[in-house]
Amino acid sequence: MSRPTSTLTDDKLIALITTKGSTEHFGILYDRYANKVYRKCLSFVKNEEAAQDMVQEIFLKVFYQLSKFKGNSRFSTWLYAITYNYCVEQYRKIHKIKKVDIDDRLDVPHDDDEKELLAIRSEYLKIALDKISPEDKMILLMKYQDDTPIREIMTTLEISESAVKMRLARARKRVREIVKDMESIA
């Protein structure tokens, strides 16, 4: 007896979609991840309607790029990388911010306490994440909300391990500085 399609692994579904162009199988993949993608979009644009449009765009993009997915990372990591990149792009458009090249050659900041960052009160953390650059926000969410291993962040963002660590350290530092300012005012 054949296995019900809804229990197929992501990789099996992807194989079926890329060979047969099956929208039915794509629908299953959509059901698995659409809400996650939606929430990520919402955390960047803060507008339900805009976030719903973004989900549509992202999944259409994913359908046509699926053949490029080589399985070097989990499908979810690859999908979220597409999502974050799209969110950053949209955020820049909405806020009319120009893209800045990130210099990964700088030294890693010293005072880098991961525990302290993770314990920041949720309401402060939310505000701080909205104040840093969308690229910094993206890498922090990948690491601490999605639990993406450094190796997978490297692969999906196509940057070196030291660059990932550098960007994470800088982003953590920025968040801590903003939170410190907020606490001193409060």
């Binding site: 929208t23 929430r39 999944f59 259409l60 009160r121 939310k126 994440l129 601490y144 909300q145």
Partner: protein, 79 residues
């Protein structure tokens, strides 16, 4: 270890309508691309066949002139 990043993820749920719209849009694009493919591959093969001379034009009854100038007609002197 405490991780407040987990708490700040929005809890919103995507309406079903979005899935239907996405899949419908996908089907429409697939259909359109299929038509473009069909047209371009047919047109491509017809052009290549005509260039290689493998397309045969219907022959005319004896004595009848084609409704358009042919190479042979062009080659013949006018006077």
């Amino acid at each position: 270890m405490e991780n407040n990043f987990k708490d700040i993820e929005p809890l919103a749920v995507l309406p079903d309508r979005v899935k239907q719209e996405t899949l419908a849009q996908l089907e429409a694009i697939k259909l359109l691309m299929g038509m473009v493919d069909l047209f371009t591959s047919k047109a491509g093969s017809t052009i290549s066949a005509s260039l290689s001379g493998s397309v045969e034009l219907p022959s005319l009854p004896p004595g009848e002139q084609p409704p358009f100038p042919t190479d042979e007609a062009d080659a013949s002197p006018e006077d």
